[in-house]
Symmetry: C2
Subunit: 352 residues, 2 copies
């Protein structure tokens, strides 16, 4: 769900590192900062998912932030994660203020296990922290043969539709579904038009922003990235109420249902005067196709759907249509071959 | 989730009818066309939900279509709806080719009952037909104290992002959440930028379409409504891949998981050469807050969320921000007082 812009971010002064040594170095950094082995493994897995699949904004470049948060005590490196089963198909998970990736993989694994018994499994997570790319957890469900949904709220950064004030976070929605014989269908999108780091990219490149994606302090759309104070919701100037509503859905499931902090109440990640756990909430759902029309019918349907989608002719001169995830799998193949590009700051931090 | 345009549709030659006599007349029409009492009750309830809340595209104006489909045998007026419980939290419902509203209320009621036991309930429906406004079923869950989700696929009418061919239907997503002491939070949106009937409205008014909402036969954006051959996905020219992905999500849950017809395989509603059931699928989910942080915590969270949202200052000169559903509840109040506006064709068909 990223565009070519994200890759442009790393075309100047980049180094390319193979996945294995990069993962090892990221793990070492987290271990040095005080994270225990389960936390390290989950965080490396999630960050490498993002970096390998081209979601650089949520990849290994975040390790500096996690390093600081672990060292300051804002994030607990040795969490006692506890799962409380609340009904046949539901559970609540307390992340003990640990790394969000560890909390989130544990929560999705619980949802998958529950779904095997009950048909669907829904798990709310609290006392968590920034979980990276939502798609990592939806993907874990699809790899287990389930439809998976993962969402989180985040601190206010997106203007409410028609307003002059940031209200929702970039609140992603991620869903993945298994596809027999190939990589899953994978939707992972912010409910804002773009992530904020894309604005920073336009700033650094001195380019003009597309229309209706960012606003100034007065809530008015701006094209100059230096004037951008907040993002606009997906849907633009006319239909941004839809993006705002989807951001609200992420908040309802992740924070209101679970009792976590709301977007506008959230302690700024990494910006607090004294270390304070962010108190993030997430929501995970796993659905077992075996309890609906059956895994074989689902596999046949995905096949017909994807074959028809990929056979749709592009607009004159355009590229063939892609299903959600298609771009990511292609990028992962390239990066496994050519290495993962690191910006100079991240490369320096990791000692490459 | 509709705009002021929808209301403009009915400003010329309208009559206004009070809800009770209108509901009675719609029920009589369906009964005359051969629908049994449970089918009539569910369909009247769903159509009146839409007409009362300003979603005129999915309201009582559709009764002519249902009348024809019942009389032709395309829709079964005496369905034997059967529910098969497949696990602790899941069920499949066979609509027996009856009216989609009857199938859908039954499916959501089952999801609610299951969620009371299991924490969440997920029900897939097959052998259904056009179910009207998705929000009607999400709302039923919220009225029972649950978070409810309802979605359906529909026949191809929306260009795939970057393509020259309609692929997905307008595939709505509806979610509702209970709010203590007031009407629910209610999101009900098409995953296309607008519904097709909005294009027809622009045609009849001789107005220019907004940018990036409709395309011509070549898949290129058009402003002249007479050239519009298909809709564009939500997100516009730059970010339409997000709308297309959400439309795909509706198809995955409603049709692929359940084994129903895919959007591009679907028999055209009301356009077939010989009567053939549309074979639509839907998906319903109910989530019981009692099995997460608890109903009281959820109620407190919704209160804080909505109070903060409604206190956000509008852009200079604008109206105060609204939560999803706020506009609908306001319209319903007006229409209970002033009557429901009917276009001349619908008024004539219903004998007003």
């Amino acid at each position: 769900m990223t565009t070519q812009h994200e890759e442009a971010q790393v075309t100047q002064g980049i180094v390319r590192i193979a996945p294995e040594p990069l993962a090892a170095r990221v793990g070492q950094k987290l271990r040095d900062a005080g994270a225990d082995q389960p936390s390290v493994e989950a965080t490396v897995r999630a960050l490498m998912h993002a970096s390998l699949h081209g979601v650089d904004s949520h990849g290994v470049r975040l390790v500096g932030y996690y390093d600081g948060a672990l060292r300051s005590g804002e994030i607990n490196g040795h969490p006692q994660v506890t799962l409380r089963r609340t009904a046949a198909a539901t559970a609540m998970l307390d992340g003990d203020d640990g790394l969000g990736h560890h909390t989130s993989y544990r929560a999705m694994e619980a949802a998958i296990e529950i779904a095997r018994e009950a048909g669907v499994g829904a798990v709310g997570a609290t006392r968590s922290s920034h979980f990276g790319a939502a798609g990592a957890y939806a993907l874990a469900a699809a790899e287990a043969g389930m439809i998976g949904l993962a969402t989180t709220n985040a601190e206010s950064l997106v203007a409410l539709f028609g307003s002059a004030q940031a209200f929702h976070g970039t609140n992603p929605l991620a869903v993945a579904a298994p596809v027999a014989g190939e990589k899953p269908w994978l939707l992972d999108m912010a409910t804002s038009a773009i992530p904020f780091n894309r604005v920073l990219l336009y700033r650094s490149l001195g380019q003009t922003l597309p229309e209706a994606i960012a606003a100034n302090e007065a809530g008015l759309p701006v094209r100059d990235p230096n004037e951008a104070a907040m993002l606009m919701p997906m849907g633009g100037a006319d239909y941004g109420f839809k993006g705002a509503a989807l951001a609200g859905l992420a908040t309802v499931l992740s924070a209101i249902l679970t009792g976590a902090s709301l977007d506008h109440e959230m302690v700024s990640l990494g910006k607090g005067n004294e270390p304070k756990p962010p108190g993030l909430g997430h929501f995970f759902l796993a659905i077992d196709p075996a309890r609906f029309a059956g895994a074989a019918v689902m596999a046949d349907g995905m096949r017909r759907y994807l074959d028809a989608l990929r056979a749709v002719p592009p607009r004159s001169g355009g590229a063939p249509p892609m299903a959600p995830g298609d771009r990511e799998w292609r990028v992962a193949e390239e990066r496994r071959r050519d290495g993962i590009p690191l910006d100079p700051d991240t490369a320096h931090f990791l000692g490459f």
